[in-house]
Each structure stands twice: as structure tokens, then as C-alpha cells.
Symmetry: C2
Subunit: 106 residues, 2 copies
């Protein structure tokens, strides 16, 4: 899916309400029209050498960098971000215009 | 796109042949049928606090964990992996079955 991806990875704190945090991010993505897609998953490789401790990956796709900026500044995201940061030991985030070189056709 | 994603992030070494390494990964993804999609991009947020120094993200999608394993072990990937590691200061990699909660419809 083209556009620009906002990719976030998390290492949650011991005892964090992970399921609720994921559910709330899903709700946020579904409620805001500027979020064009929301995909996520939990690492199954579980090799700290490569994961750097990050367990969850969240990928949100937007049409433009302006839409990512609007999402970041959105009051609903700001509110969610506080809860997310409180529950995480570390966060990784990058934004990248997506080059699609191969796409599933079947 | 459902399936399982093999996500790799890289911080390249100063002077690494980044364009060639990206091109070779694209070739690999195009040549191997088990790779269902290949998307990548370069971080534009450029905030080290969040990127942890990683500049490039590569997302390969497979149908199953078995296909990811076959890819990792494939001689062409093993050969490429040597060049990739030689050109990178650090690598992050996770594999995650993808939950798609929202998808672009227009």
C-alpha cells in the first residue's frame, strides 16, 4: 500500500495492559479517517539480538506527510500517546514514503 | 496484506553502497516466488530519539512462517545477507503474523 507509513515498535513494561493499549490504538485508527490502514503484529522470532527487545509492530498508512502530522497532533492521538508511553519501556518510530516493488497479485 | 511479515530495519555504515544494497534486496524479493510483497522506505522523521538510528525499513510479506524460514535459509538470501551485514552498523528484524484492522478501500 503506497502513501507514507508511520511505523511504531514497542517494548511494553512488565505488567502493562498490552491488550487494552492495542485495542485503543485500533479504535483510534478506525475512528480517524486520515488513517488509511492499520496493521500490527507480535514478533514470533523472539531473538533479542535482532528484535532489540521490541515485541510489537504497528503500521499505519497515510496519504501524505501532512496527514501523518495531523494524526500526531490530533487530540485523540495526543491523549492516547500518554497512555502508550506510560506502558512502554521503549518505543521506536519512523515515517517513510513507501516504495512498493512487489505486491501480491493472488 | 495478511500473512506474516519479515520486517528489517538498517542503520548503514558510513560509505556503504546503500543504493546497491537496496536494489539487490529488491532483486532478491522479485526473484523468489515465496516473497509475496516487498515494500521499503527511508525515514523522513529523522528523530534519533525515536528512530534509534535506523534509517531504512524493509517489509517482506510471506504466506506462512515456513515460507519465511525457507527465505532465510535460501542460498540467494544467505549470500545477500553477508553483503547486507557487511554494510550495516546495526540491524533490527522481527517476524509477525499480521493483523489487519483497517485497510484502504479507496
Amino acid at each position: 500500500m503506497a502513501g507514507i507509513k508511520h511505523l511504531v515498535m514497542a517494548k511494553f513494561k512488565e505488567g502493562a495492559a498490552v491488550e487494552q493499549l492495542v485495542l485503543d490504538m485500533k479504535k483510534l485508527a478506525l475512528e480517524l479517517d486520515i488513517v488509511k490502514s492499520f496493521e500490527w503484529g507480535e514478533d514470533v522470532m523472539k531473538n533479542d539480538k535482532y528484535s532489540h527487545g521490541f515485541t510489537h509492530t504497528f503500521i499505519l498508512t497515510f496519504d501524505s506527510a501532512e496527514d501523518v502530522a495531523a494524526y500526531i497532533k490530533h487530540p485523540r492521538h495526543v491523549e492516547y500517546g500518554k497512555k502508550f508511553r506510560a506502558g512502554t519501556e521503549k518505543i521506536l518510530a519512523v515515517d517513510f514514503p513507501t516504495v512498493i516493488d512487489k505486491i501480491r497479485t493472488a
